[in-house]
Structure formats: structure tokens, C-alpha cells
Amino acid sequence: MIGYILQGMIWTVFITLSSFAIGAVIGVAVAGARTAPLLIVRGIGRAWVEIIRSVPPLVWLFVVFFGLAEVGLRLTPLQAAIFTFGIIASVYLGEIYRGGLATLDRGQIEASRALGLGSFDLLTKIIAPQIFRTVSPSMVTYGMGLMKDSALASTIGVVEMTFRANQQAQSTGQGLAAFAIVGAAYLLLSIPLGAWARRADTKSRLKYVVN
């Protein structure tokens, strides 16, 4: 039973990493929209963030998996899960980026502009390296939450850890054992991440003081 359930871990990790990666990229656009000079762009960005966050992830998952199939966009359970969690992650990570941006001195952006840096260079060479230090602990913490959210994918039939535990519980009647195993597996996955986040956090604070 342990082996069968733990084989699902690869999908738990895969869903978490791929939706995190999607969210990390689209999140840049979300943060950009939220801090755009144009009021209407900021408004759209804000509305987007509010709409995504005000509805439970399970509802979005069902909208994407069952709802979009009805209008002709048929996704496999795995695709639907990664897409849904990716979009949700983009909103939360975008807000984390925005928090990091707020700690950056605006003068730096003006100075880069004065030196003739393009937007892409400004983002990758000036903004990203500096805010990465301040935002990475929050990003890891969010990633841990995302990993727990990935358990929801079991409700639309992705055969990850929770789904497998559920199968085992129903076929063997040993529900307590099955769910204790899967619970322990989530804890084991999150412990190293948590330790890493705490270390990164202390480190970033140290550097901040020295600067």
C-alpha cells in the first residue's frame, strides 16, 4: 500500500512544480499590470486578482475541467489541474512580486532609464536580482501551500498521492493507514522546503541590514 500511494508523489510534485513555474512567469505580468502607469491597466489587474482570489480553488478547478469541456475545450484532468493552479499561482506570486517591488527605490528605475536600459534589461538585470532576495521566502511558503492545494487534483481524477490513498482506502478498508501515509508524505515534502524558506529569510534579512 505504501509503495502504491507514494508512486503518486511524482504527480504531486509535477503538478506543483509546473503550476508554480507557470505562475512565476505569468505573475510578472500580473505584478506589471498592478503597478502600470495607466489607471485602466491597474484596474484590470486589480479586478483580475480580486476575482481569482475571491473564489475557492476547487470551484476554478471545476469551472476549467467540467465547464470548459462544455464549450469545446476538453482538457485532461492533469492539464486542467496544472492550468488552474498555474493561473491561481500567477495571482498570488504576482502579489508577492508587487510587495517586493514596493521595497525597491524608484530612483533605481529612473536611473536605469536614464542609462538607456530597455524594459527587458531593467526587469532581468536590475529589478529581478534585487527583489529575488526579499521575495524568495514568501515564494517558497506559497509553493508549500500550492503543494497542499495540488491534492485537489484528486477530485477531478488525477492519479496523484491523495487519489491513490483514496483508492486504497476504498479497496482495502484500511482508510486510516492509507491517509496517515499520504499525510506523512505531504509533511515530509514540506519540511525541507520550510527549512529552506526559514534559512533564506534569515539570510535575506542579514544582507538587508549589512547593506
Binding site: L58, V59, W60, F62, V63, G67, L152, N166, Q174, G183
Partner: protein, 216 residues
């Protein structure tokens, strides 16, 4: 698909909303006091006991709520405890709420300078009194906005109770979806039902946060 039919869906989901709010309300009413107890036990209880509490809190935070729900509903029957769906849901949600709130309450209490306790004791207040009249009122002001935020998150998470046959919003939506085959409008109606509660509630939390921060 006209707008009237869609509003009809929204109306059909409202009884589910009542169940979702009951589940959330009971879990918060049990979870918050439990969290205060946990927060105090972690700091003042003797060694083995405080470790047990830390363990309970870490499991409550580290294991997905979905798995906690399954542990109560499908796990306990293995050892001949068969809780009803609602009892299982309340237990899992209370555990989760208490675990997250424990951290919030602990950090709020710890953010009050130690000197205040010393001053209270110098002024002749007993330990209990200085906690009740000096630390608590200040810590509560710090803890209230994040705890309200947690309440909104727990309300959203009540959608998970769908997996153990609680007839809350998602369960009703799923049923309505299989009946009408209009999955997209039905689940968007569910989204609207949740948003109609969470958006005003979040706005309220933000305004309370501002008002409380004024006097700090």
C-alpha cells in the same frame, strides 16, 4: 442560456451556502479558542505536553485539509469510529483553523514587548491578570485582522467538504450540473455565490485593519 436561468442556478445554490456558513461558523467558534489554548500551551506547558501540541499544530498546517477530511471520514471507520459527514467535516476544519490561528495568536502575543509584563508585575498584577488586562487587549488588536482573513479562507475551503457528501455549495452545484448539463454556467454561479461573500468580507477586513492600525 439566459440570465434568468442563470440566476435560477444561483438561487438553487443558496441552501448550500447556508450549510457552508454553518460549517465555517462552527469550526471557527471551536477553532479560535482552541488556538488560544494551543498558543499558551506551546509557551508555558512542560516539555512533553508542549511538544505534543506543536505536533498537532504542525500536522494541521502541513497536511492538506482534503487529507484531514478523509482521515476523519474514511480513516476513523477503520478503528470502528464512524462519524457523520458533518462531524467529520467540523473536526477536520476545526483542526485546520486552530493550527493556523495558533501561529497568528502566538506571534501577536510575542510582539508585545516583554517590558510590559515586567512593568505589570512591578505594579503588583498577578500573572493571570497581567495577561488578561495588559497583554491580551494589545495582542488581540494585532491578531484580529489576520484571524478574520483566516476566517475568509476557511469559508472558501468549506467547498472541500463536497468530497465527503456535505451538501454545501459545490455539492449542490455538482448535482445541478449533472442534472442540467450546463456545467459552465452552474459552476460560474457557484463562483458568484462564494465571491458575493468573500469580496465584501475582504473589504471589511481591510477597513478594520486600517482602523485598528491607527492607534498602534
Amino acid at each position: 442560456m439566459d440570465i434568468q436561468t442563470w440566476f435560477g442556478y444561483v438561487v438553487e445554490l443558496l441552501p448550500g451556502l447556508v450549510t457552508a456558513m454553518q460549517l465555517t461558523g462552527i469550526s471557527l467558534a471551536l477553532g479560535f479558542p482552541l488556538a488560544l489554548l494551543f498558543a499558551l500551551l506551546i509557551d508555558i506547558a512542560p516539555k512533553p505536553l508542549n511538544w505534543i501540541v506543536i505536533g498537532v499544530v504542525e500536522i494541521g498546517r502541513g497536511v492538506p485539509l482534503l487529507v484531514l477530511l478523509y482521515i476523519f471520514y474514511q480513516g476513523l471507520p477503520q478503528i470502528d469510529i464512524v462519524p457523520s459527514a458533518m462531524v467529520a467535516a467540523v473536526s477536520a476544519f476545526t483542526w485546520s483553523t486552530a493550527s493556523y490561528a495558533t501561529e497568528t495568536i502566538r506571534s501577536s502575543i510575542q510582539s508585545i514587548p516583554r517590558g510590559q509584563l515586567e512593568a505589570a508585575s512591578a505594579a503588583g498584577l498577578s500573572g493571570v491578570d497581567s495577561f488578561r488586562f495588559v497583554i491580551m487587549p494589545q495582542a488581540a488588536r494585532i491578531a484580529i485582522p489576520p484571524l478574520m482573513g483566516l476566517a475568509i479562507i476557511m469559508f472558501q475551503l468549506s467547498s472541500l467538504a463536497y468530497v465527503i457528501t456535505i451538501s454545501e455549495v459545490m455539492q449542490s452545484a455538482y448535482f445541478l450540473g449533472t442534472k442540467t448539463f450546463n456545467y459552465l454556467p452552474v459552476f460560474l454561479a457557484a463562483a458568484a455565490v462564494y465571491a458575493s461573500i468573500t469580496i465584501p468580507a475582504s473589504a471589511l477586513v481591510t477597513s478594520i485593519e486600517r482602523r485598528l492600525a491607527k492607534h498602534v
